[in-house]
Subunit: 325 residues, 2 copies
């Protein structure tokens, strides 16, 4: 366990993931209240909304109003998702949005075709367009992410080299424009990762891009989320995307439907880190309260475990008090 | 990962755990159907019911009738739980019940008092009585388990030595009667374990009792179940108690209520083993079907993940077919 990172950073995607997947649109005040609660937990990055077509995603039509309603906490970065120039312009024009350069690539052609109606190679040329655009407006690069890095429901097993190749390409494309690419993410978009494949890909990525920080975007689709995070922590991985309360989980218990299975649960994974002596800068009890708020807003039991069982803090406090008295 | 076991054994506790925790009593035919489905998965041990007071646990009042209704598969051991002489006699008298010597001890006095109205030391003397009884009737010893081995909601942190001391005592008590104690179990009764404490206790237990096989009884109370299983697998642990579909989880999303949080989910952990190349002897697709049957009987979404997402088998098959054609 000697490679454990001293500190782990969680990129909170719950508000965007969670409210985007639901059929109903929740009151803006409730969505703002969740972001405000998350702002008080010590989280450094919170993904608030998507700037996408109101026709395609009516739940996110009021992204600007939501950002305006959020009480912004100094030191917290509030970010967003965009998929086209119109969305990028909305994000840049919206006060309070932390706009950084993000690019996404595909390790699976079948998934790229299904999700973006293009091949993985065609996605690269689209990414070239984004890199030029970011250079043009002076937006600093933050991350490149490769989807379906561990496997694909539409293609099957994906050779590890595929994800590495895409991220090495992204790194070179950034360098050609005088950027550095600080972080590279492996995304287990459809829940194919296991502790061994996590170790293998993280190891290969470190060898290929020794200067970049490695991050993971994991879903708990098949119950291996916590095991995959442990394997990554033991490889020294210190950046994870996650969702408070497990927000983003599919609201329909449709069997055989990996679609919409949630990100790993932020507070459960923060608990894992803290129990192993790894710092996160997060107030776990405050985060559990935010998770309970998320559950009360959504109105059904969400997949996070810790928020239902409670943390161990008060048991330990009671024990300490008993000993000292 | 060199210490991974070649084969892992799962002791299925879902039928007993799951139907015992529910307020309603489910039709005997449905409970028998679940056991019958589990019998066809390759599981070697299935805990069918408890022989306990019908007043205290009306859901288990018809344990004998349930055993009679079960279609017993050769090679599968169908076991049960008893807490007193009356229950033990019922189990011994009931056709089809695999009766072996099991003893339970406490690493926490506070939990022993709460759960058994006795101290951990008093529990030992009760256990002496059971060992004499097992010797008297010639029931072979199978396992000793120590509850609250990793921590306790009523006592707080529990020093690792406490659990080890209890199991070393149990081993000696067995030897004094000419028994050997084949398996010793650490139970994380209230969800305090983390990967580091799992490694620590398993290591200490191996040193203390090098001849016994180590087993784990883990609950996924706070979301670390899969991570704790991974840590145990990397220590070579090859015996786990678990529940199909995560049966046994608390049906009420009561915050701060660790009570009733489910065992680790059998099919999710079998999936973990198989993805890491560890044999279980289990047909995962058949087990997922059994999990879906369990969920349909209980009538609400259960915590198992794999049964909702589906296994990876058909994606791989489709890929193999595409390649060969």
């Amino acid at each position: 366990m000697s490679d454990l990172p001293k500190r782990v950073h969680f990129h909170e995607e719950g508000p965007r993931e969670g409210f985007q997947i639901e059929r109903e649109t929740f009151p803006l005040a409730q969505r703002a209240a969740l972001v405000n609660a998350l702002s008080e937990t010590g989280l450094e990055e919170i993904q608030v909304a998507s700037f996408v077509s109101p026709k395609a995603v009516p739940q996110m039509a009021d992204a600007e109003a939501l950002f305006e309603a959020v009480k912004r906490k100094p030191g917290v970065r509030y970010d967003s998702v965009w998929l086209n120039e119109r969305g990028f312009e909305r994000a840049r024009a919206c006060p309070g949005v932390h706009v950084t350069g993000r690019i996404a690539l595909y390790a699976s052609d079948a998934f790229a075709l299904r999700n973006n109606n293009c091949t993985a190679a065609e996605m690269r040329s689209r990414v070239n367009g984004w890199l030029d655009r970011y250079a043009e407006v002076g937006v600093p690069m933050e991350r490149a992410l490769v989807m379906a890095a561990f496997g694909c429901n539409f293609e099957g097993e994906v050779p590890p080299a595929r994800a590495i190749t895409e991220l090495v390409w992204a790194d070179r494309a950034c360098r050609e424009r005088g950027f550095t690419l600080p972080r590279v993410y492996l995304a287990d978009t459809m829940g194919w990762a296991n502790p061994q494949s996590v170790r293998r890909l993280v190891g290969m990525l470190r060898e290929a891009l020794p200067e970049a920080e490695v991050g993971l975007h994991l879903h708990d689709t098949r119950g291996l989320g916590a095991a995959n995070v442990l394997a990554a922590l033991e490889m020294g991985v210190s950046h994870f995307d996650s969702s408070v309360a497990g927000l983003g989980g599919c609201p329909f218990a449709g069997h055989g439907e990996a679609k919409g299975a949630g990100n790993i649960c932020t507070e459960d994974m923060v608990f894992l880190c803290h129990e192993m002596g790894i710092e996160t800068g997060i107030d776990l009890d405050a985060l559990v309260e935010a998770a309970r708020l998320a559950e009360s807003i959504i109105g059904r039991t969400l997949s996070g475990r810790l928020m239902h069982a409670g943390t161990l803090a008060h048991y330990r406090d009671r024990q300490a008090t008993a000993r000292s008295s």
